[in-house]
């Protein structure tokens, strides 16, 4: 069923659709098809993903709430950070070596299939769940 949805998406959309997996604070995974050129903050907002408090300053580099953790192979290929992003990221909870602010990362085709994690602040005892959504 997912491959049928995938081909329907590719045929019917004008912008390139990229598959991105988001894992939220509780370990819940959401898989969404996003348009090339959107930032990851745009994606979270548009797709109404369940990530509490994401993007408080609405993408203006005045907070660190859109902090996302990337796979190393993806992180290494991202555009380098400007000082202002590093300044904000330095305040983020659970900072890692592959952390970026979602509002500064624009989706590109080569990111197809990547997984991004929201830093875990509280360990959820319920374990992981998967929610696959194709749009």
């Amino acid at each position: 069923m997912s491959s049928v949805c995938l081909s329907v998406c590719v045929l019917s959309s004008s912008g390139s659709k990229v598959l991105v997996h988001f894992v939220n604070q509780s370990g819940v995974k959401s898989s969404v098809f996003v348009t090339e050129g959107e930032t990851l903050l745009d994606v979270v907002i548009k797709k109404n993903l369940d990530i509490s408090g994401f993007g408080a300053c609405e993408g203006t580099l005045a907070c660190s709430t859109c902090h996302l953790i990337f796979e190393e192979s993806v992180y290494d290929k991202l555009e380098p950070m400007v000082d202002e992003e590093v300044d904000m990221l330095d305040l983020a909870y659970g900072l890692t070596k592959t952390s970026r602010l979602g509002c500064q990362v624009t989706v590109e085709r080569w990111m197809d299939g990547m997984t991004v994690h929201v830093p875990q602040e509280i360990k959820d005892q319920r374990g992981k769940q998967e929610a696959v959504r194709s749009k």
């Binding site: 408080a56 300053c57 005045a62």
Partner: protein
């Protein structure tokens, strides 16, 4: 149609009361509404207007930080949420009365007081708390008559956190940078006529303990027409320590050292400097004994290492001539109701993960819970934590949800009999529109109303149009 007032207490879901309409209150409400589709949340705020320090604390030239107001507005407009402004909890209604009307009460009322320096001369004219100075330029009604005298060349700020840097930046920023913001018109005019040219930002300990964050320091370094005036002696040994520092502290320290080395444009008219290892011991009066003319600082040395570095006196003193002294050593929570436990030493409500000590059904979030430090995101995470704990208690049966609670219906009736003129969110929106309108005519983002009576008048106009 009365918006913001919900229907009768026919719902059997949990009713939660939140005391305080700033970031802690709104983020706690947000999380509760999301986690329980049957929960109703009522926010009570002392001022007629919402948003707390987002409105009265965040600097006028940081409008992006205020974007959170949009998400708070959505929360206030949620059908299961209602905002009640101009309600002074502790005076107009007691905590016990709220606890009777609701299944749970969350204290999110922040820190409206400030730590005092505790030194002679602190009460002389010319000495202000940063809380009051910031309140003055941000239009907090109780600070509208502050009238700080800005006719002196040197200002000394005690404390080196982000609030101290905000104050320094507002004192030295070119007026062009401020004139389109939501800074109050009287502050803008006072700053336009200001003679302050030199601002020293003084801390007890050393460069590695500075409490501000890099964004605010960078803004000082980049401030037009100003140069940095640091003491190289304060930075002895710092270069060697850099390599062992975690990235955030390392970058912050490197930026300071760059400012020490480069200084800035010699032709700049204004200057700012960080001064370390200095604690205030006395405010010195001028010859006429009538106002502050200087500050006496004690020189410290550092003992200990890592997180537990502390300042110890050396016995040496230093006097600095200055006409404006701003103490920025911390906000402070105050007890608002004798029924609520309060720790006067730490100035917080004693709690375990947001559950108020020995008081079932009472919770806290934000600065009143953890102390007055951190940015909005810190408070956001903390509020989410308290909300989760509250929800857990509901689900574990620690709160008796089988009892019907009247919620806002009972409290608003009580407030009406006491002559309290509440401001509902839709009425705040009218005040908001008026502020934006006045701002527009001055070329500014908004012109804040400074007077509670004026705010209530605008609210009344709204009522009379519809009824």
């Amino acid at each position: 149609m009365l918006t913001g007032v919900r229907g009768l207490s026919s719902s059997s879901g949990p009713r939660v009361c939140i005391v305080g309409g700033g970031p802690a209150g709104f983020y706690t409400a947000q999380q509760l509404l999301k986690a329980r589709q049957d929960a109703a949340v009522d926010i009570y705020e002392r001022l007629p207007v919402p948003f707390g320090l987002v409105r009265f604390g965040v600097a006028p030239d940081h409008p992006e930080v205020k974007n959170v107001i949009n998400t708070f507005t959505q929360t206030a407009q949620h059908e299961r949420c209602s905002f009640h402004g101009n309600v002074n909890v502790g005076k107009d209604v007691t905590i016990d009365e709220l606890r009777q009307a609701y299944h749970a009460v969350v204290l999110s009322y922040g820190a409206e007081g400030n730590r005092s320096m505790g030194i002679p001369g602190e009460d002389l004219p010319g000495v202000f708390s940063a809380k009051d100075f910031v309140g003055w330029y941000n239009g907090l009604p109780s600070n509208k008559e502050l009238h700080p005298d800005l006719s002196f060349e040197t200002a000394v700020i005690l404390g080196q956190g982000n609030v101290a840097l905000d104050v320094a930046r507002i004192l030295l920023a070119p007026v062009e940078m401020l004139k389109e913001t939501d800074i109050t018109q009287n502050a803008l005019e006072a700053l336009a006529g200001s003679k302050v040219r030199r601002v020293l930002i003084v801390g007890r300990r050393g460069p590695l303990q500075i409490a501000c964050t890099i964004k605010e320091l960078r803004e000082m370094v980049n401030l037009p027409n100003t140069r940095a005036d640091m003491l190289p002696a304060d930075f002895e040994g710092i270069a060697e320590a850099l390599k062992d520092l975690p990235r955030p502290r390392k970058r912050l320290t490197e930026l300071m050292m760059k400012a020490v080395k480069e200084g800035g444009d010699d032709k700049a008219e204004k200057c700012w400097g960080l001064r370390f290892f200095r604690s205030p011991v006395e405010v010195l009066a001028g010859a006429d004994e009538k106002r502050a003319a200087g500050i006496r600082l004690a020189l410290n040395k550092l003992e200990g290492s890592g997180e537990s570095v502390r300042a110890e006196v050396t016995g040496q003193l230093e006097d600095v001539d200055c006409g404006l002294i701003i103490s920025s050593i911390g906000y402070k929570s105050i007890p608002i109701d004798p029924a609520v436990p309060f720790d006067p030493r730490r100035a917080i409500v004693p709690n375990e993960m947001g559950r108020v000590q020995d008081t079932a059904g009472l919770y806290c979030s934000g600065w009143v819970k953890r102390g007055p430090t951190g940015v909005i995101a810190t408070t956001m995470n903390d509020s989410f934590d308290t909300a989760r704990v509250l929800i857990q208690d509901m689900e574990a049966g620690k709160l008796d949800l089988s009892v019907n609670k009247p919620g806002a219906q009972a409290i608003t009736a009580l407030l009406q009999t006491r002559g309290v003129r509440m401001v509902l969110f839709s009425q705040w929106e009218k005040i908001n529109a008026e502020e934006e309108k006045r701002g527009k005519s001055l070329g500014k983002a908004r012109e804040k109303l400074l007077d509670v009576d004026e705010m209530l008048k605008i609210r009344n106009v709204f009522i009379s149009i519809f009824f």
